[in-house]
Symmetry: C2
Subunit: 311 residues, 2 copies
């Protein structure tokens, strides 16, 4: 059996490259930068393992993009469809991890852990009054795998939970109060806590802007989705001049967050560097999906997490 020419993007989640090297039947190419990736794909690469994209990755030999991220807004779906290139994602692989991360950010705000950790750099014991999530209203904006994992973990925390979903009629899960996207503003007014787990809009426009933040009022917001989901200038304004109690951000409009961003020094903000989905458990779970899809690629059969594209 001919080896499958497999190109690994240099920035893969920890453990993924090591795992792929153990898979029989793959000829692994591991360039060190984007130019190298394009060159390897130009020289006959069939499978690309990546979570980023550049236009020149689309070569005549490319047949399958094995994505290591949950999203797909970075890929030229129409072109891929026209060329018959298969795209699979890591949808669901890190849902539980990101849900844990969302809680870590939320509780760092409500229990003052972000503030106390910064006081540690001054060896300083500074008493404060924390807050409770019990009795609060949590709105989960985006009930995909990640949003559902948040809702599941929130079940015994004495909160009221509502979820926003694009197609509420197709929802199956643990949230009783499901609302369509047309009820986003009403839900911002209702909620004390907003957890953002929705995909970025294709045009990059924010779901949560000035008006939604004003409706949320004295609440907390946690973003484990994409930076573009919030209007960042409006967020900074709500944190500085508005009623917003705090923001937990794993993602920002520009990443890495520029050193001169005012977000770094706001006391009611906790920032993590887009690590919400990272864990040692990621590679083996991703690998299980890859193994099934490799069988489909080689011998036919059912794909997992394959995007349907117009061809």
């Amino acid at each position: 059996m001919k080896a499958i020419q497999t190109v690994l993007h240099p920035s893969l989640p920890p453990g993924v490259a090591a795992l792929l090297r153990t898979v029989p039947g793959l000829a692994i190419h591991d360039p060190t930068d984007d130019d190298g990736v394009a060159a390897a794909l130009g020289a006959g690469g069939e499978v690309l393992v990546t979570h980023t994209w550049r236009a020149d990755f689309l070569t005549p030999s490319l047949r399958w993009i094995a994505g290591t991220g949950a999203g797909f807004e970075q890929y030229p779906l129409e072109q891929l469809g026209e060329r018959g290139v298969i795209l699979t994602t890591a949808w669901g692989v890190h849902a539980g991890t990101v849900a844990e991360h969302a809680f870590a950010l939320l509780l760092a705000l409500t229990r003052g852990v972000g503030k106390a950790a910064r006081a540690m750099t001054r060896n300083s014991w500074e008493h404060y009054l924390g807050e409770e999530v019990a009795g609060r209203k949590m709105a989960i904006v985006g009930l995909g795998r990640i949003g559902e994992a948040v809702a599941l973990r929130a079940q015994n925390w004495e909160m009221s939970i509502a979820g926003i979903k694009r197609h509420p009629e197709s929802y199956v899960g643990c949230v009783q109060d499901i609302r369509g996207t047309d009820r986003l503003r009403e839900t911002c007014a209702w909620a004390d806590i907003l957890i953002l787990t929705a995909p970025a809009r294709a045009d990059g426009s924010p779901l949560i802007g000035r008006e939604e933040l004003a409706l949320l009022g004295a609440g907390w917001i946690v973003n484990v989705a994409r930076g573009s989901v919030i209007d960042e200038a409006a967020l900074i304004d709500a944190l500085t001049n508005g009623a917003l109690r705090g923001a937990g951000l794993d993602v920002t409009a520009k990443e890495p967050l520029p050193a001169d961003s005012p977000l770094w020094s706001l006391p009611n903000v906790v920032i993590t560097p887009h690590v919400g989905g990272g864990s040692p458990g990621y590679a083996p779970r991703w690998g299980a999906i890859f193994a099934r899809n490799l069988a489909a690629f080689r011998d036919g059969g059912e794909w997992r997490n394959r995007l349907e594209m117009a061809g």
Copy 2:
């Protein structure tokens, strides 16, 4: 009806003093230091609202200590019993809050929030690989109201949960795997995550010492109980030279934690300044207990959270 001479210790939880001023039939005395408390009790104070104790608070007129903390290790129980002084505690009032705090500390360790918050003081986006609690074994040492609240919140987090209880035969709650205190070491060896919610021992000796930490190995430990529950020198050693992955501490052997403690600068430690039970919800919940007990004090009837003491 004669007003009840009520002395408020100056360091009460937020909102408690304000609430007491609204209760009819109390003559409130609010000295500004311990000497003033002793003087007010010496001058006929009948009720003391406090969470700390000094030997000279025990005067002939004292009849009821309305404690604002869950613990009671600070009070001279035998003497109080001999004199017929009633002691009530705030047992259960902040159980949910402390449970949220325990999760905040745990997730700050596993998801790297403590580290990232400190990197914020340098405006620095520093990528790292977080960990998951899913798939881990959590041992809750002490299944009182707080331990139970932790267990309840952990139900949908895909962890195996075990609880240690002094009297496992009397346990009613959501934990299936209940173990007696004789199985503490075995449980340290079993666990990945140790949540300490047990009361301090009367003699101040630690429950968790060098051997227990060695058995826990590459795990995480969270202490929302009392500083004396852990041997702090052994903890620092396990964090520095041992396998221990991290410690989340709301309490320390000496509080405030001295500025020269090595705990401040260990990257795998998150410290909060004994605020685990604090929240705006505390005062109204404590007030509901106080109101019932005030009726019992005045007119007879059933007490809540009253300690049984040998008389």
